[in-house]
């Protein structure tokens, strides 16, 4: 049952990810990206990380893709959708395929986990406790980083006064 769900969701995720990188029309790419993110959220739920699944839907599907669609609408003229790939198509396919093959080979042969995986527990309360105790310094740092990124984004996108 779990394996069936995994293969359905994984095939869906990979197929939509392929659409993202191959569609000539960038709006189609962005819509395919929404479905790819939803598929990854399903994988997270399958891995008993329901909080991460919800965060994935909220931030990626609800936030980042909307931001991407706004940027597309502000920058892309409808008539300029020809010639979307550069001339390094074959070399890029070779490099990306080679690295994927190495990673798949390493994943299938190199991983030896000694011991049983722990029984699934409810992870959300434990995650909150970890963020406020063990990982509180990176948590504060990431909030400073987000503040700096927001200020930087506003300054970069602001129209300069002539």
């Amino acid at each position: 049952m779990q394996a069936v769900f995994f293969f359905v969701v994984a095939a869906f995720t990979v197929a939509t990810a392929l659409l993202v990188v191959t569609r000539p029309n960038i709006v189609h790419s962005a819509v395919a990206l929404i479905f790819s993110f939803c598929g990854v959220a399903g994988i997270y739920v399958l891995l008993d990380a329901e909080f991460l699944g919800a965060v994935q839907v909220l931030i990626y599907v609800g936030g980042i893709t909307i931001l991407l669609l706004f940027a597309i609408m502000l920058t892309t003229r409808i008539a300029t959708r020809v010639d979307v790939f550069n001339e390094q198509m074959g070399l890029s396919a070779l490099i990306a395929g080679g690295i994927t093959a190495i990673l798949v080979y390493a994943s299938l042969t190199g991983i030896q986990i000694a011991g049983e995986a722990p029984a699934p527990v409810e992870t959300t309360p434990a995650l909150g406790r970890l963020l406020m105790t063990t990982h509180v310094l990176p948590f504060e740092l990431i909030s400073i980083l987000l503040l700096a990124a927001m200020v930087g984004a506003i300054i970069l996108a602001r129209r300069e006064k002539e």
Binding site: Q2, A10, T13, V14, A17, V20, V21, I26, A30, L33, F37, V40, I43, Y44, L47, D48, A49, L52, V55, I59, Y60, G63, I64, L67, L68, A71, L74, T75, T76, V84, F85, N86, L91, S92, A93, A96, G97, I99, L103, V104, S107, I111, I113, G115, E116, A117, P118, T123, A126, L127, L130, L131, I142, L145, A149, M150, G152, A153, L156, R159
Partner: protein
């Protein structure tokens, strides 16, 4: 329970697809979308190891949260840069933008 290598293979394939997109696309926003795909592939690996390793303390999931936060910051700043590029060059094709090329 399915083996952990299934998840790792899925992560590797998603990473390869994202890398192909980064290397071949000319539109800067499409490159950003492919980078987001690669970050998602990394998160799949983090969470798979967090679930499957014995005596795991959820550190993988905490790291995935940090990766998502950095990805959100990257998207905001990256898209602001893209808007600035469009305003100054009237294109978002990265191979036509060579202002800082030596």
């Amino acid at each position: 329970m399915i083996p952990v290598s299934y998840y790792l293979v899925l992560g590797a394939v998603l990473f390869g697809i994202g890398m192909f997109g980064v290397l071949t696309r000319r539109n800067a926003i499409a490159i950003l979308m492919a980078v987001e795909l690669m970050l998602n592939a990394v998160n799949v690996n983090f969470i798979a190891f967090s679930r499957y390793l014995p005596n795991s303390t959820l550190d993988g999931q905490v790291f995935a949260i940090f990766v998502i936060a950095v990805a959100a910051a990257e998207a905001a700043v990256g898209l602001a840069i893209v808007l600035g590029l469009y305003r100054n060059f009237h294109t978002v094709n990265v191979d036509e933008i060579n202002l800082m090329k030596w």
